[in-house]
C-alpha cells in the first residue's frame, strides 16, 4: 500500500512539474528561434565562394535533458504494446532544438551570418533502472562563417 502511495505521489509530481517545465521550455525555444531566424544554418559541406573569404570558427551547443517520472512510466507501459513513444519524442525534440539554439547563440555572438556543415549527435548519458533512458545529451556543431566585410567596407568607404 505504502509503495502504491509513493508511486502515485512520484507520478503526480512528475506530471505536474514535468508539464510545467516542458511548456516553459517550449515557450523559450520558440521565442529564441524567432530571434535568431536571420542566422542561416545549413547541412551542406561547401560554403559559397566569396571574396574576401570569411573567417571560420567551430561553434557548438550541447544540452542534457532528463525525462520526468510520469513520462518514463508512460513509456514503460508503451513498451508492452509497442508503437510511438510520444513522451520521448518531445524530449528529443526539445533537446535538439535547444542544442541548435545554443550553437546559434554562440555564432551570433561572434557576428557570424551562416553556419555550415551542421551535425547533430545524440547519446543517452544516464541510464536508470533496467536500462531505461533517463536523460539524453544532444550536441550540435558546425562551422560559423564570420564575414570579413567589416574590414573591406572600411577600405571601400575610404577609397570612395
Amino acid at each position: 500500500m505504502a509503495d502504491l502511495i509513493v508511486l502515485i505521489i512520484l507520478l503526480s509530481l512528475g506530471y505536474g512539474f514535468g508539464r510545467l517545465a516542458e511548456n516553459k521550455h517550449y515557450k523559450s525555444i520558440k521565442k529564441r528561434e524567432h530571434q535568431l531566424r536571420e542566422l542561416y544554418v545549413m547541412a551542406t559541406k561547401y560554403p559559397p565562394a566569396t571574396n574576401p573569404a570569411p573567417a571560420t570558427t567551430l561553434v557548438s551547443g550541447s544540452v542534457v535533458i532528463s525525462v520526468d517520472y510520469f513520462k518514463r512510466f508512460v513509456a514503460s507501459l508503451r513498451n508492452l504494446i509497442g508503437g510511438r513513444v510520444k513522451s520521448y519524442e518531445s524530449l528529443l525534440d526539445r533537446a535538439r532544438r535547444e542544442a541548435l539554439l545554443r550553437m546559434k547563440e554562440q555564432a551570433n555572438e561572434l557576428g557570424a551570418d551562416m553556419i555550415f556543415n551542421v551535425k547533430i549527435e545524440t547519446s543517452s548519458i544516464h541510464k536508470g533502472r533496467k536500462n531505461a533512458v533517463g536523460s539524453v545529451e544532444v550536441l550540435a556543431y558546425g562551422t560559423a562563417l564570420v564575414p570579413s566585410s567589416t574590414a573591406s567596407t572600411a577600405s571601400s568607404t575610404t577609397g570612395a
Partner: protein, 104 residues
C-alpha cells in the same frame, strides 16, 4: 590554430596533409551531481551539471587533439567530428578527431 568541421578553409590553400589526429577524455560524474540528477529524473528538465561536465570534457578532448596536431606541425585541423559513448554506468567518453593539415 584553425579548427573547423568543413573539408577546406575558405580562401586558404592546403599545403600539406598530416593525417588523423585525435583526443579523448573519460569523465565520471561525481556523487553530488548524481543525487541532483536523480531528483531531476522525477521532475524532468535540464541537467545543468551534466551539460557543463560534458562540455568541459569535450573541450579537454579538443585541446588534446590540438596538442597532437601542433606536435606534428599542423596549423589547422579540418573535418572535425565528435563522438560520445557511455562506457560504464556513470562514466562517458568524449572523443574528437580530425585531419591535421598545413595551410598557407
Amino acid at each position: 590554430m584553425i579548427i573547423t568541421n568543413l573539408e577546406m578553409i575558405p580562401g586558404k590553400k592546403l599545403v600539406k596533409h598530416l593525417g588523423l589526429v585525435q583526443g579523448s577524455s573519460v569523465r565520471a560524474k561525481h556523487v553530488g551531481r548524481d543525487i541532483m540528477a536523480s531528483l531531476k529524473n522525477i521532475f524532468g528538465g535540464e541537467l545543468k551539471g551534466y551539460t557543463e561536465l560534458l562540455q568541459e570534457s569535450r573541450e579537454e578532448a579538443m585541446s588534446r587533439m590540438q596538442e597532437q596536431a601542433s606536435a606534428v606541425g599542423a596549423n589547422a585541423v579540418l573535418n572535425i567530428r565528435f563522438s560520445t559513448s557511455s562506457i560504464a554506468q556513470g562514466a562517458a567518453e568524449l572523443f574528437a578527431y580530425g585531419t591535421a593539415v598545413v595551410v598557407e
